[in-house]
């Protein structure tokens, strides 16, 4: 029983990281119908920048705070580029462009940080086991679950109760109507993009103590992010949340019982969802 609880907590910690990644992917698609294939690249960049900041300042917390800000600056630059291909009926160009951007980010990261595997230790305050009664579990993954829950709650409040959230939902639901009613959809998309990039980078820094930083991480995470949004349904925060929980748990249990085939288990999950709910679990609803 303790064993299953352990696997469950591992899955939830992974789900928190996947949620940070997939929320932006899903929102950017929802608002702008742009499939942002460079999203995994920003996740990886977040991790690598977190590593450098940690080496430089010696404080994990400073790295955690600064890396998303740096990613935000890079996101501003990337957004200037992606802006070229915004618009309806441009899916092919958007896919080519963001796929190309993923290549560029991947090779530039290798150029700056090299190909060796890098890691960041968890902060001292969280680098200890915690007694949960039933099990003794490391504190850092619990911290990840907490962050995931806080971000999910924050995004829900943002989407539900603020002007920005209203505009996002309007632009995602019916772009022309929103535009006619005075919602600046392009501007909303830009802000959503930056929000998504910052969340992905935050996920990257948080992942650094758990997942080794190495070339190829960007693509692994992009694939997982895409699977999450396919499972959960594109275009909404709640879809990303449910998708992340399912994929995170499937990965954790898959790794435990079929270590070599964890990705195959996740893929099977996605195939099942596509057969029975082609639009994803929450597809069609927003």
């Amino acid at each position: 029983m303790e064993f299953y609880l352990f696997v469950l907590l591992n899955g939830l910690a992974y789900a928190a990281l996947l949620f940070l990644l997939a929320a932006g992917l899903s929102l950017v698609y929802g608002v702008g119908r742009v499939l942002h294939l460079a999203h995994g690249g920003f996740f990886m960049l977040g991790g690598y920048m977190g590593y450098s900041l940690y080496q430089w300042t010696g404080s994990f917390w400073l790295a955690l705070a600064l890396a998303p800000l740096l990613a935000l600056a890079l996101g501003l630059l990337a957004e200037r580029l992606v802006r070229v291909v915004y618009g309806p009926e441009r899916a092919l160009e958007q896919v080519l462009f963001t796929f190309g951007m993923a290549f560029v980010i991947s090779d530039l990261t290798r150029l700056f940080w090299g190909a060796q595997v890098l890691g960041v230790p968890p902060p001292p305050a969280l680098n200890r086991p915690m007694d949960l009664g039933a099990v003794v579990y490391p504190a850092y993954p619990l911290f990840l679950i907490l962050i995931g829950a806080v971000v999910a709650l924050g995004l829900w409040i943002l989407m539900r109760f603020t002007r920005f959230g209203l505009e996002v939902r309007a632009a995602a639901g019916h772009p022309q109507m929103a535009e006619a009613l005075g919602v600046p959809t392009t501007q909303v998309l830009q802000r959503t993009y930056l929000l998504g990039v910052a969340l992905a980078a935050l996920g990257g820094v948080l992942a650094a103590p758990r997942i080794a930083l190495a070339p190829g991480l960007d693509f692994t995470m992009l694939i997982l992010g895409l699977i999450v949004v396919v499972v959960g349904g594109l275009g909404s925060v709640s879809g990303a949340l449910y998708g992340a929980l399912l994929v995170g748990l499937a990965d954790s249990f898959g790794r435990t019982f079929l270590p070599q085939f964890a990705l195959a288990v996740i893929f099977l999950l996605m195939a099942l969802v596509l057969v029975f709910r082609p639009e994803g679990l929450l597809g069609g609803r927003r």
């Binding site: 698609y29 499939l35 294939l37 580029l81 070229v84 291909v85 618009g87 309806p88 009926e89 441009r90 899916a91 092919l92 160009e93 958007q94 896919v95 080519l96 462009f97 796929f99 190309g100 951007m101 993923a102 290549f103 560029v104 980010i105 991947s106 090779d107 530039l108 150029l111 693509f219 692994t220 992009l222 694939i223 895409l226 699977i227 949004v229 396919v230 594109l234 070599q260 085939f261 990705l263 195959a264 893929f267 996605m270 195939a271 596509l274 057969v275 082609p278 639009e279 597809g283």
Partner: protein
Amino acid sequence: MNRWFPWLLAALALVPLLGGAYALRLGTEVVAWGIAATALAFLYRTTGLVSLGHSAFFGGGAYATALLVKNMGASVYPLAVLLAILLGLAFSLILSFLGLRSHGIFFLMLTLAFSQLVYILVKQGFPGITGGDDGLPGVPRPPGLEEPAVYYLAGLALLLGILLLYRAFIASPLGQVMDALRQNEKRVEVLGYNIRRLKLLASGLSGALAALGGAYLVGYRGFVHPHDLSWTTSGLLLVMAVVGGMRPLSAGVVGATILIALEAFLSSYTDLWNLFLGIFLMAAAWTALRSRGAIHVGA
């Protein structure tokens, strides 16, 4: 086909006369990648669908051929190639059955995820069979085609045959319908065609053709490596098809010629080939937008 495309083919046919072993190697690469890039361009031409995971079929075809030939000897080559093609067809059909159940963007994501699944499984799942990180070395050449120049010319003939079939297909009534499908899916559907079945057909053929390209590559190169299945391979195939213009019959071959020449040239100066590949992709998307305005991708 373009007016000057026959000249490109003629120039390719003269490669064995002109250059040495290096030119022949590049020429053979052009044929192999050209076949696979043509498969990708064919899928777009007939349905408007873009696959981000054709490395699964290209590398998968190479692996299937290599495994069979290595274990059972060079005499089973025809059987091995046939099996590779059938596997490409079958997996492509299954994948599009899943991916075409809803919006077109799901097809994109599914192809990408599937190719990564194949990559991981080959690399880590069954290292005893697939050779893991090292791939499979020591694949023999097909009997009768041991001579590199002969192998190259046979491939060129195969490529020409494929392009002629492609042209005949587009000219046929079915091909005309599929050309229309790319341009306006709704109208084709309203005219009473089963667009889902048409898309499945195109996707299956594309997967089979890409597998054939992979089988041809391994017969010449003599080894397979997990890199053949990786996302950079998918990206390279996509860049080739896009540089060739996606729609013309010649797209795959023209793109493969340009990209392989460029890779041969650039990789002697820098190892940041993926960076250039990414910039090409972005530039191609940008110019496509400039020159043609909005083009539609299947949904």
